[in-house]
Symmetry: C2
DNA sequence: CAGCATCCTATATGATACTG
DNA sequence: CAGTATCATATAGGATGCTG
């Protein structure tokens, strides 16, 4: 299937399903980190991904493992050691994710700017409506 | 910035911010539909995107407009006509989204398969644990 | 170290009714 | 047609404490 073949775009189900999984708050960041670093332990990932809670990192990794995107290797040692890495399928996902990452880095500024303009306009409209209401009241 | 420049990957904020907006349930589908069809009215979008509620389509379009990705053109007619299309910024977003769309179409089958295998293994482990508990009890 | 279990809250989403 | 307003709910996500 080529990039110009839009026939699949008519059927949203596959895209929706994938987005429901990788579109959460942490999955893309986990895949990104594993793509960069290759193999990472649980707490290494937790340190790299700023703000993720232990619970959410666990859930995210389980989901990615379930979807065949991440491998989980347990070493029966004391203290326990668990290593995560991308599967071959996970590595292919790196490509579109990386594209999105680069787009974000390039265009985040423009988005922030657009938001500021939009919000300023909305605030002005709200103020205008207040004046109209005050005028209508008397 | 090149695709191989991973320095931006260390700073998750831009990516997180973009993902928080386009990572919701409908934004990517809206952008995809507008990218395919060029200009669409509200109810045309609603018909194309299966399952979206009026409320969520409105909210999604407002957010995309606020971020400078979608333009909203009102024609002061009766009945009212409102047309949506991608901005230039929105069109550039089409590229990484299209890549993700194609990846989904190609690899959704593998994900479904991986889930089935994972779930079967989990079920087996659960059954095994039940037996162990039964053994311990009796 | 790498988690699991529990409780709690915020938010996203949906359903429904109404409107210029 | 293209919304807005309100209510209801499911779920994502966070905080905390405990464990092998």
């Amino acid at each position: 299937m080529s990039l110009t073949d839009t026939s699949q775009h008519s059927n949203c189900s596959a895209m929706s399903d994938v987005l429901n999984r990788i579109g959460d708050k942490w999955s893309v960041l986990v895949v990104g980190m594993l793509g960069q670093n290759g193999v990472l332990r649980f707490n290494e990932l937790k340190r790299l991904i700023n703000g993720v809670s232990q619970r959410m990192l666990t859930l995210t990794l389980r989901n990615l493992e379930r979807d065949g995107l991440v491998t989980r290797t347990i070493y029966p040692e004391v203290p326990p050691r668990v290593e995560y890495s991308l599967t071959e399928l996970g590595k292919t996902l790196q490509v579109p994710i990386s594209a999105l990452w680069d787009w974000s880095a390039e265009n985040h500024g423009a988005i922030v700017e657009a938001r500021a303009i939009y919000d300023a306009r909305e605030t002005a409209v709200a103020a205008d409506n207040s004046r109209k209401i005050a005028y209508a009241r008397g």
